[in-house]
């Protein structure tokens, strides 16, 4: 069974801070398990696109090293011509708007990118199972609710990446 791990911006922010212990722990766990974390392109842009974040201890994330070592990879572009991907993303947009009590117009593609990527890797057969590592509860719940409605029951899992989760993470989480 192939499991694909998709990680969100919040995972790496949680890893930040002056000591970076949590980053090293995550790195060790992922590498020992011999897996990689995929990040949607929009997450990649969020992580790298903001010089103002450098002033924050937690904004100084040593994630480029993860690319060099190969345990963080940027996912393929989302294929909006795939009807499943675009349908699930539209549904996720409505779902997130509803969960957050916002107008649908305020939710954007970035909000739904995690769900779209999960749908894509399941639909193309690249993954049998997807684990979403995120601090985005509305998006996590959208994925867990919507993908089973498209035939992917028991094939998606949302893990909220809390401080405790990263402080205790081991390779077992990825097996």
């Amino acid at each position: 069974m192939t499991t694909v791990y998709i990680a969100d911006t919040g995972v790496f922010v949680r890893c930040g801070g002056p000591d970076k212990d949590k980053f090293q722990r995550l790195r060790r766990a992922v590498r020992q398990a011999g897996v990689s974390l995929r990040i949607p392109q929009r997450v990649y842009e969020e992580l790298g696109g903001d010089p103002t974040a450098d002033a924050y201890p937690s904004g100084n994330i040593p994630y480029p090293g993860g690319f060099e070592e190969g345990w963080i990879v940027v996912a393929d572009e989302l294929d909006y011509t795939n009807p499943l991907v675009s349908t699930v993303m539209d549904e996720a947009r409505r779902f997130i708007a509803n969960e957050t009590d916002r107008d649908e117009d305020i939710t954007e593609k970035t909000d739904t990118a995690l769900v779209g990527l999960a749908a894509q890797v399941l639909d193309t057969g690249e993954a049998d199972y997807v684990i979403l590592l995120t601090t985005d509860k509305p998006a996590g719940r959208a994925a867990e609710t919507l993908l089973p409605q498209h035939g992917f029951s028991d094939r998606i899992e949302f893990r909220y990446v809390s401080v405790e989760y990263l402080e205790t993470i081991t390779a077992n989480e990825f097996r």
Binding site: T9, A53, Y56, E99, T100, T135, P138
Partner: protein, 178 residues
């Protein structure tokens, strides 16, 4: 047995001055937040729990007591103190902001959590108060950092940093808001 005078005897200006000091002095804010969460407590228990010199702690407790924000709940030594929750709403030119115990607790963590400190430097205490409102929603799962970023005019990364930094305070004080 001696009784503390009722709180209404304190002048509002005196309390306002004290609240201003709380927002300006993280160690004082830490002490107040600690009494509020864990009181009744003695000064030596406070000194054990939070990183603050004993003499300073006695001074702070006395100032808070004078302003009516804490009171003795045990009149024999060792004295025990408990804190009164505050909610001070200020209005200026149509803008209204309420200073709550959670906001004091958020200020209290700026010494240990430099993300909070940088955020205050950059966006002020009003900005922190607004971010704290989003942090409650973030904990509840009714907002994500991307929506917060758009509504607060921050980058998504900065939004996620401050929401995570305020998550412990928002979690601890969630019941007080509900």
């Amino acid at each position: 047995m001696a009784h503390s005078p009722p709180r209404s005897d304190r002048s509002p200006i005196q309390q306002l001055q004290m609240v201003a000091d709380l927002l300006d002095t993280p160690a004082l804010a830490r002490l107040y937040a600690h009494i509020l969460q864990h009181g009744p407590v003695t000064v030596s228990e406070m000194v054990d729990e939070i990183d603050i010199p004993q003499g300073t702690a006695y001074d702070y407790v006395q100032n808070l007591e004078t302003a009516g924000l804490v009171e003795k709940t045990r009149e024999q030594r060792p004295y025990e103190y408990d804190a009164e929750s505050i909610a001070l709403t200020l209005s200026t030119d149509g803008e209204t902001q309420t200073i709550t115990p959670a906001l004091i607790a958020a200020v209290a963590c700026r010494d240990e959590n430099k993300d909070v400190d940088v955020y205050i430097e950059r966006h002020g205490l009003d900005g922190l108060a607004v971010a704290l409102e989003y942090a409650y929603e973030y904990v509840d799962g009714t907002v994500n950092h991307r929506i917060a970023a758009r509504e607060l005019d921050l980058s998504p990364l900065e939004a996620e940093i401050i929401l995570q930094a305020l998550e412990p305070v928002a979690t601890e004080y969630a019941d007080a808001v509900a």
